[in-house]
Amino acid sequence: MTSVRVLVGTRKGAFILNADGKRERWTIDGPHFAGWEIYHITGSPADPNRLYTSQSSGWFGQLIQRSDDGGHTWTPVGNTFTYEGEAGTHLWYDGTQRPWEFKRVWHLEPSPSDPDTVYAGVEDAALFRSTDGGHTWQELSGLRRHDSGMRWQPGAGGMCLHTLILDPAHPGRLYAAISAAGVFRSDDGGITWRPINRGLRSDWLPDPTADTGHCVHRIAQHPGRPDTLLMQKHWDVMRSDDAGETWYEISGNLPSDFGFPIAIHAHEPETIYVVPIKSDSEHYPPEGKLRVYRSRTGGHEWEALTRGLPQSHCYVNVLRDAMATDRLDPCGIYFGTTGGQVYASADAGDTWTPIVRDLPAVLSVEVQTLP
């Protein structure tokens, strides 16, 4: 029978939530790696029992954990992330150049076809790949060595490569998003890269339409419409219909066009979800009302989804990797908050229920739809 496994990374460990296809009754398993920051836990599309976890700590550094049995048992694999060749320098907040220095793995993206191949987006921004199940990691250094690299600078959360999309329709095409550098595309399997930020506007930059320097928070792609990309930027929800060559704004009637995650309905490529957040300094929902906004028109026109979500005194945030969808019909939508709630909707966002309310702050949410 079809079931759903929700993988939750938090500030203090990982949790695995399970339900059958009805998505009404949940079991909660965890914490795994108690006390450690879990920036990301995710599964291989090619083998759902193969999971990868980024486990890190300000004290004890970075580990990668791997499970071959759906998260019941874990084995630490390789944690050597060495920049290839000269590390080089990037721009620091004070305008000086600072050497690239590995800090942590933000995002793991397993190959859709090979359980042993997995990519890692790291801080300071770079892309690594393992083809042996996480035991060894090699940098795809063309991204970090891009001519613009010296001008990249950290966003408030660090200079992180936080989103990686392996294009299902164009072999060798990858998208990577970096805060605060922007979006980059490779068409040769990650060897060479170019920025694809035309149409983005960031008024805090000396040149608001510069090639790089944009604080992109998250990008999403629907596998059935691979040339369309959706973006939640630090201000502005954006869309591209030409594989990132040009972008245009679709913020429309959102109460705030700031936010972190963006997700797409599994079966409706024009149905998009965002969580508007008040900024620049507050980083909580406008008016203290936690609302997911859904567009059924590919952007511009948005409706507030509120049923089951707190509509008063709610001051949590939803981080960039903390929203995901399942592949059931109706499509399930899931998100986690910095207040430790994981909310689920089994009806494409019409109604919401907390699966669990009091976890540590949620950093990431991924969903596996299991046969």
């Binding site: 700590s57 004290w59 004890f60 550094g61 580990l63 630490p76």
Partner: protein, 98 residues
């Protein structure tokens, strides 16, 4: 035998309880001690010393015999009481935060 006490998160990571006892042939330096510890528990590689530079991680401290040895050169011998197994070598997660 050299006695080593790890901080709780690293004990959990290495699936061990209480003190670790390790045998070291030759001079007992900080480097030799940590090399032997990591050889026995490979999961600790990178958690105490940076994998790239080999340097102590900033928020990890080394104490023994009432002294802070964190900034000793890696090839300096550890105190005689540690080398003799009379006193433990403490690896400590620094107090950081509020």
């Amino acid at each position: 035998m050299i006695r080593v006490i790890l901080p709780t998160p690293l004990r959990a990571l290495a699936h061990l309880e209480g003190e670790v006892q390790i045998q070291i042939d030759g001079p007992v330096t900080q480097r030799a001690l940590l090399d032997a510890l990591e050889a026995r528990y490979p999961v600790l590689r990178g958690t105490i010393r940076d994998r790239e530079t080999g340097r102590r991680r900033a928020l990890v401290r080394f104490y023994a015999c009432g002294q802070d040895l964190s900034n000793e050169a890696p090839d300096t011998p550890v105190p005689a009481a540690v080398a003799a197994g009379a006193e433990p070598f403490l690896i400590v997660g620094a107090i950081a935060g509020g």
